[in-house]
Each structure stands twice: as structure tokens, then as C-alpha cells.
């Protein structure tokens, strides 16, 4: 009987281990949030944040996961960093109090509250976005998710793309509405290595 129990335990242990959540640390060189906002009703202006850190966990067996991203808002880049003959560049204006107010609120964070799975992969991440000190719910749709070993360094990694939409006025960023759109589309490119 004792041998039987040990045999069952021996068989179960690998399954338990496989079901444990795996933790990943964001690769800052392959994780960037991008945004898109209407400009004067003429074009969609795009920009990105160059510095993002964070972690995520995934448990494919239990179909649970979590993600926490910290974005340095001063790293905003819309391709207009040189002021030339103008007093200030657009990125300088975006860093000032009218928009991201980076001196007062240097970070934007996203913390998940629930992750939906379809099969083995996450398809939707619900969470809270904190911007300008204001926290509001935000749901990200995961458009692509892959876990595999990096073909170069052979380290296990996961990553993909996700997107969501927010109204910047919900966070108190009201300057320039409606000439500069209220609705902002967010696109995330995320990769992380297993800890």
C-alpha cells in the first residue's frame, strides 16, 4: 500500500510542477507601449514610450496569469525631439503639465486583475491603469501570444502583442480636446524571459 501511494505521488509531482505559475521579467529592449491619437481630425499621430519595466506570470494549467508594467512617462517619443527654431519640441510639450506631467507623475502603471484564456494562451487582460495619479480600469485584448525558447540564447521566453483603448480625459488629461483626440489607442509589444 505504501509503495502504491509513493508511486502515485511520484507520478503526480511532475504534473504539480508543470502547473505552477511561471514568472517572467520583461525584456526592456523588446517591450514598448505605443499610442495613437487623432490630430486635428486629419491624421492619427503615433508615439511610444522608450522605457518600460515589469513582470508577468502565467499558469497555463490553471489558466491564470498576471502582469505588471511600469512605464517611464518621460521616455515619450513621437519623433519630434528637436525644437529647431521653435521654443519647444512636441515631446517637450507632451512631457509638461498639459499632458503627461512627468515631473509630478513620472510613471504610468498597468496592473492586471484578471486574465482570460482561450486554450493555453491568454486572450484578454483586465486591469487597472494608473496615469497622472488616477487609476481606471483598462482591458487589453491579446492579439498574439507565444512561449518558446529564444532561438539565439536558448532562454525560455514568452511574448506577444496586446491593445486597448482609453479616454485620456478620464485620467484628467484634458488639454487640447477635441482638436487632439480624447480617445487613445494603446498597443503593447511585450517580451519577457523566465526567471
Amino acid at each position: 500500500m505504501k509503495k502504491c501511494v509513493l508511486a502515485v505521488l511520484a507520478c503526480t509531482l511532475p504534473c504539480v510542477a508543470a502547473a505552477a505559475p511561471e514568472s517572467y521579467t520583461i525584456d526592456p529592449y523588446h517591450t514598448y507601449p505605443y499610442f495613437e491619437v487623432d490630430h486635428l481630425g486629419v491624421s492619427n499621430m503615433r508615439g511610444m514610450f522608450r522605457k518600460t519595466t515589469g513582470k508577468f506570470t502565467i499558469d497555463r494549467a490553471a489558466k491564470t496569469g498576471s502582469v505588471e508594467l511600469v512605464v517611464e512617462t518621460a521616455s515619450i517619443d513621437t519623433g519630434d525631439n528637436e525644437k529647431g527654431n521653435r521654443p519647444r519640441s512636441r515631446d517637450e510639450h507632451l512631457r509638461a503639465a498639459d499632458f503627461f506631467n512627468v515631473a509630478e507623475f513620472p510613471q504610468m502603471t498597468f496592473r492586471s486583475t484578471a486574465v482570460k484564456f482561450s486554450g493555453d494562451n491568454p486572450v484578454e487582460v483586465a486591469g487597472n491603469l494608473t496615469l497622472l495619479g488616477v487609476t481606471r480600469p483598462l482591458t487589453l485584448k491579446v492579439e498574439r501570444w507565444v512561449c518558446k525558447d529564444n532561438p539565439m540564447n536558448k532562454r525560455p521566453m514568452c511574448g506577444g502583442n496586446a491593445s486597448g483603448t482609453l479616454k485620456r480625459s478620464d485620467f484628467g488629461m484634458k488639454y487640447g480636446i477635441p482638436a487632439i483626440g480624447d480617445e487613445v489607442k494603446l498597443y503593447f509589444e511585450i517580451e519577457g524571459y523566465r526567471d
Partner: protein, 273 residues
């Protein structure tokens, strides 16, 4: 105990009454027993929702204070005769208010830096408040100072990448321009009082604080702008309201224009600032 304090009747009546009673007995001797009402309300706030309000940004604080200051000015003009110490006291109060405005910035800095920056910003807002308040009995100088200061703050904020602060500053200048024009239309000085001077001095000073913190206005440009209420004290002709207004506006305008030049990045680079 938690259940007891969570009872709506305790929160709404019993605890506020106890707090009010304590304050009334404690402060009756110094004629402040009336604070019992505020103590009752404070007790209810503490028990019902707490004092942890959602974060207020520096700009929201500036606007709250900028709108409260003229209301205080109306009270001072219509209900009280300001004492001799009123200017410095108001300066100290709004100087402390500047520290409140800057709090989110200051708490991210090291202590020594935070103390130095907080003191500098408090001095700036305190000075503009007191300097403008001192002009309350001189409507031409007060109006001209508010005009130059408002447009100066507005233009320098725009040059520092803070468009909304810039627009608010210009709005101050536009309001002051309307006051001056009304004065010229009447053909005689009209009362500026604490209503105008607190409105301009506090709002303009705190807009400067906000622009230094939240945008790229250099401290020396803010300092130069704070000299506007001093500049309008230069001699004016004894007669002729138009001449007085134009000359006072010119005094303030020259200082404001110099400050705006200092806010221009190209000038800063040339001067090696």
C-alpha cells in the same frame, strides 16, 4: 469598537457631538468655541470616508487657490479692514499654499533639495502675494501690474511648453486689461482693493510655481517676472489717468518682456544659462 464606529448614527451624530463638545470646552477661553462645528464635520469625514482624497494635481491645486484668493479679497474689502500685518501674513499663507501645490514634486526629491526648492517656491508665491496686496490702494498701478504680470506669466509659460498655464496667465492679463479700460472709461480710479490684488498676485504667483515645476520655466525668469509689482512703483505723472496707466503699463511691460526673453531657449543658450 469598529462596529460601533461604523454605525451611521455614531458617525453622523454621536462622534461629531463628542468632538464638538471637546473643542468647545477646550477653546472657549480663546474665543474659538465656534470651531466645534468644524470639529463635528471633521469627525464625520474621518469616520465616513476618511481624509484620503483622490490625488489632486499641481495644476488643479493652483486653480483652486487662484479662484479662492479673490473670494478672500472680496471678504477683506467688504467685511474687514486689513491690518498692517495683513500683507506679510497673506504672503506667508499663500507661500505655504505653494508648498502644498508643489508637494507631489517635492516628495520625490532628497530632503535637502526638497527643503531648498520648497522654500524658494514659497518665497516666490509669498512675495507676489504680498507685493500685489501692497498695491491694493493704487488702482492704476495695481491694474497695470496685473496686466503685465498676467501676460508675462502667460507668454513665458507658453515658451516653457506649458500651454494651459500660458492661457491661464493670459486670462489674468486680459481681466486686468478690462479693469484698466473700465477705469479709463469712468475717467477716474476705481477700487482695486484686495479683490484685484489677491486675485492677480496669488493666481499669477502660483501659475509661475506650477510652470517652474511642471514645465521648463527657469527659476531666474520666474524671479524676473516677480519684479513686475515693484516696477510699477516707479514715478508716475500726477495728473492724467491715461498717461499714468500707459506709463505704469510700460514699466511693468518692460520687466515682463525681459522675463519672457529669459524664458526663450535661444536666449538662454546665448547667455550660457
Amino acid at each position: 469598537m469598529e462596529g460601533f464606529l461604523g454605525h451611521p448614527a455614531v458617525q453622523a451624530v454621536l462622534a461629531p457631538f463628542a468632538a464638538g463638545l471637546a473643542v468647545a470646552f477646550a477653546l472657549a477661553a480663546v474665543r474659538l468655541a465656534g470651531l466645534a462645528v468644524a470639529a463635528g464635520l471633521a469627525a464625520a469625514v474621518a469616520l465616513i470616508g476618511g481624509f484620503a482624497f483622490p490625488p489632486v494635481s499641481a495644476q488643479q491645486k493652483v486653480l483652486l487657490l487662484a479662484l479662492a484668493a479673490p473670494a478672500l479679497g472680496v471678504l477683506a474689502d467688504l467685511a474687514f479692514k486689513p491690518a498692517r500685518a495683513a500683507g506679510p501674513v497673506l504672503g506667508a499663507i499663500f507661500g505655504l499654499a505653494a508648498v502644498w501645490v508643489a508637494w507631489n514634486f517635492l516628495r520625490q526629491k532628497e530632503l535637502a533639495m526638497a527643503v531648498a526648492a520648497g522654500a524658494g517656491l514659497a518665497a516666490l508665491a509669498g512675495w507676489t502675494t504680498a507685493a500685489f496686496f501692497a498695491l491694493r490702494g493704487e488702482p492704476v498701478r495695481a491694474g497695470a501690474a496685473a496686466l503685465a504680470f498676467g501676460f508675462g506669466v502667460g507668454a513665458s509659460a507658453l515658451l516653457s511648453a506649458a500651454a494651459s498655464y500660458g492661457q491661464y496667465g493670459m486670462a489674468l492679463g486680459a481681466g486686468a486689461g478690462a479693469f484698466l479700460l473700465a477705469q479709463l472709461a469712468f475717467g477716474r480710479p476705481i477700487a482695486a482693493g484686495a479683490t484685484l490684488t489677491l486675485g492677480a498676485g496669488v493666481a499669477g504667483g502660483l501659475l509661475l510655481v506650477g510652470t517652474v515645476l511642471g514645465a521648463q520655466l527657469p527659476w531666474y525668469a520666474a524671479l524676473a517676472l516677480s519684479l513686475v509689482p515693484l516696477a510699477v512703483r516707479l514715478p508716475l505723472p500726477r495728473a492724467g489717468l491715461w498717461a499714468q496707466t500707459l506709463l505704469a503699463g510700460l514699466y511693468g511691460g518692460i520687466v515682463a518682456a525681459l522675463a519672457c526673453l529669459l524664458s526663450w531657449p535661444g536666449v538662454q543658450e546665448r547667455l550660457g544659462l
